[in-house]
């Protein structure tokens, strides 16, 4: 599960980082968290609650993000506050020891069932199949979205499919990684891969690899130190990001290329 969940979250993060969907991604992942806690409080399966909330949030924030002249920053800030309040409210109202509820905050890879694993495997197949089938469209949209729309590429369809996939990834990885930290595992490996490569295909592979590495290493450390795995996974992932930023080949590359570009401007 650590390998699978880490790689799926990492690959998902490529969309979040390159399409600048950070706020949207944060809202979807925290909505899943709130949905799972509310379901738990109501006595329903948390997986179903998380799935419904994340898919609901994904389909609600998509049209909001498209609205011209709409302040997405502000709207996402409000939505984020509301879903976090709902999550805390559900946790507060929960009777008893709240062990299951608390485990949704920090995550618990050790309680993952075979069914959870099968769901995550199916999501991984969907995500990597999506990337393979629509790779050229994903590349065309990156950094030149208006031009892609104008060229007749179905940008909206691909964007919405991506939001739905994010909803699925978050809902199915929630139990293992935890609601507070899953978003970090989505963004950090992709941000790490961005420090290293200029090729999109490699960025997907590296992000998946860094996600899997952080999950396995984090799980191993959390087992030995007897601490929540989600927190350790995210800290390991962040450490890899810092190392990648320090040793990024892109830093040297940009310094070297600065002079020829300058010359071509002048000459």
């Amino acid at each position: 599960m650590a390998l699978l969940g880490g790689s799926v979250c990492g690959a998902m993060g490529v969309f979040v980082v390159l399409w600048r969907m950070s706020l949207v991604g944060m809202c979807v992942s925290h909505a899943a968290f709130a949905g799972a806690l509310l379901a738990l409080w109501l006595g329903a399966p948390p997986l179903a609650g998380g799935l419904a909330a994340s898919l609901g949030a994904a389909s609600a924030v998509g049209p909001l993000a498209e609205k011209p002249g709409f302040s997405l920053d502000t709207a996402m800030g409000v939505v984020f506050s509301v879903v976090m309040s709902l999550a805390m409210l559900a946790l507060g109202l929960m009777p008893g020891a709240r062990t299951e509820g608390l485990s949704l905050i920090w995550g618990s890879l050790l309680t993952v069932t075979l069914f959870d694993l099968q769901l995550m495997a199916a999501t991984a197949l969907l995500l990597f199949g999506f990337v393979f089938l629509f790779f050229k469209e994903i590349e065309a949209i990156m950094g030149q979205r208006h031009a892609a729309v104008a060229a007749g590429i179905p940008v909206k369809g691909i964007y919405y499919a991506c939001l739905i996939l994010m909803g699925l990834v978050v809902a199915f990885a929630l139990k293992a990684i935890g609601g507070l930290l899953i978003y970090a595992l989505i963004v950090t490996p992709a941000a790490t891969a961005l420090q290293i490569t200029y090729r999109l295909s490699r960025m997907f592979l590296l992000a998946a690899l860094f996600g899997a590495m952080a999950s396995v290493a984090g799980l191993w450390l959390s087992f030995h130190w007897a601490v929540p795995p989600g927190a350790v996974i995210v800290l390991v992932s962040s450490a890899i990001l810092v190392a990648a930023m320090v040793f990024s080949p892109k830093k040297a590359c940009r310094i070297e290329q600065a002079s020829p570009v300058e010359q071509s401007n002048q000459g």
């Binding site: 950094g143 208006h146 729309v149």
Partner: protein, 258 residues
């Protein structure tokens, strides 16, 4: 008279109660080079977006190749109309090469579930050569200057093999040399491929140098349209921009002074 490629007939655009364009008529013939000029907020970019359906209209009819542009034929129209936008900032770390960016111009025509082959790759490389960036083909696009990035956008538009090329302020925020490079590249493309071009610009000198026909927009209405030679009129331009404008002559070249 050349055959008509696109036409706006009595087109109006409203955003809520606000009228952006009102009763616009414009006929674009094959091979024309139109420039749209006017003050900020006049509706130039909105008008340009009518030709590929990026701007939804509330009244009148937009025609492309004789057919009324409706929502169900937007994909077909967009594959034949290339649109170059103003230069925007890009992350220098963006994992996208100049070649990959230009190649993406072929993807609209290629359609879903089909991968670019030799034909598309050759087309992309030729487009890069035409805009003079062959030596930068493998460079990450985020490393280019604003002017070079606009030439990449032109190459991407060219790789689309369009019937109509829309240029939305392609020289905005660029230095003099980059502006000249873009203007030269546009002129070369037009001559080589007999492209039909509509360009929105604030650069009157580019209008005088490049355009055959000029449409002047003011407050959502068409103030004037006609030949480029007749558009070089100090009174008309002064009325358009609401500032006194003079025309200076230097040899065969003309320049607007304000």
């Amino acid at each position: 008279m050349n055959p008509c490629l696109a036409e706006l007939r009595n087109v109006s655009v409203h955003y809520g109660k606000r009228c952006i364009l009102n009763g616009i008529n414009l006929r674009i013939e094959k091979g024309d080079f139109w420039t749209l000029i006017g003050p900020n907020g006049a509706g130039k970019s909105t008008l340009m977006g009518l030709f590929n359906g990026l701007t939804p209209h509330n009244g009148g009819t937009v025609y492309f190749k004789g057919k009324s542009v409706s929502s169900d034929m937007l994909g077909e129209v967009r594959r034949q109309v290339a649109h170059v936008f103003q230069a925007t900032d890009l992350d220098p770390k963006m994992p996208l090469s100049v070649f990959a960016s230009v190649l993406s111009g072929t993807y609209g025509r290629l359609g879903l579930f089909r991968w670019p082959g030799k034909k598309e790759k050759n087309l992309a490389m030729q487009s890069i050569e035409i805009v003079g960036l062959a030596h930068l083909a493998q460079r990450p696009i985020g490393h280019l200057s604003g002017g070079e990035r606009q030439r990449v956008a032109l190459a991407r538009a060219l790789a689309q093999e369009p019937e109509l090329l829309l240029l939305d302020e392609p020289t905005a925020a660029l230095d003099w040399r980059a502006q000249r490079d873009i203007c030269n590249a546009v002129a070369t493309l037009r001559e080589t491929f007999n492209l039909t071009v509509i360009m929105v610009t604030h650069d009157l000198n580019a209008v005088f140098a490049l355009a055959q026909k000029v449409a002047m927009l003011r407050a959502g209405g068409m103030l004037w349209q006609g030949g480029a030679q007749e558009a070089v009129n100090a009174d008309l331009l002064s009325r358009l921009y609401d500032v006194p404008i003079q025309i200076a002559h230097s040899g065969e070249r003309m320049a607007a002074l304000f």
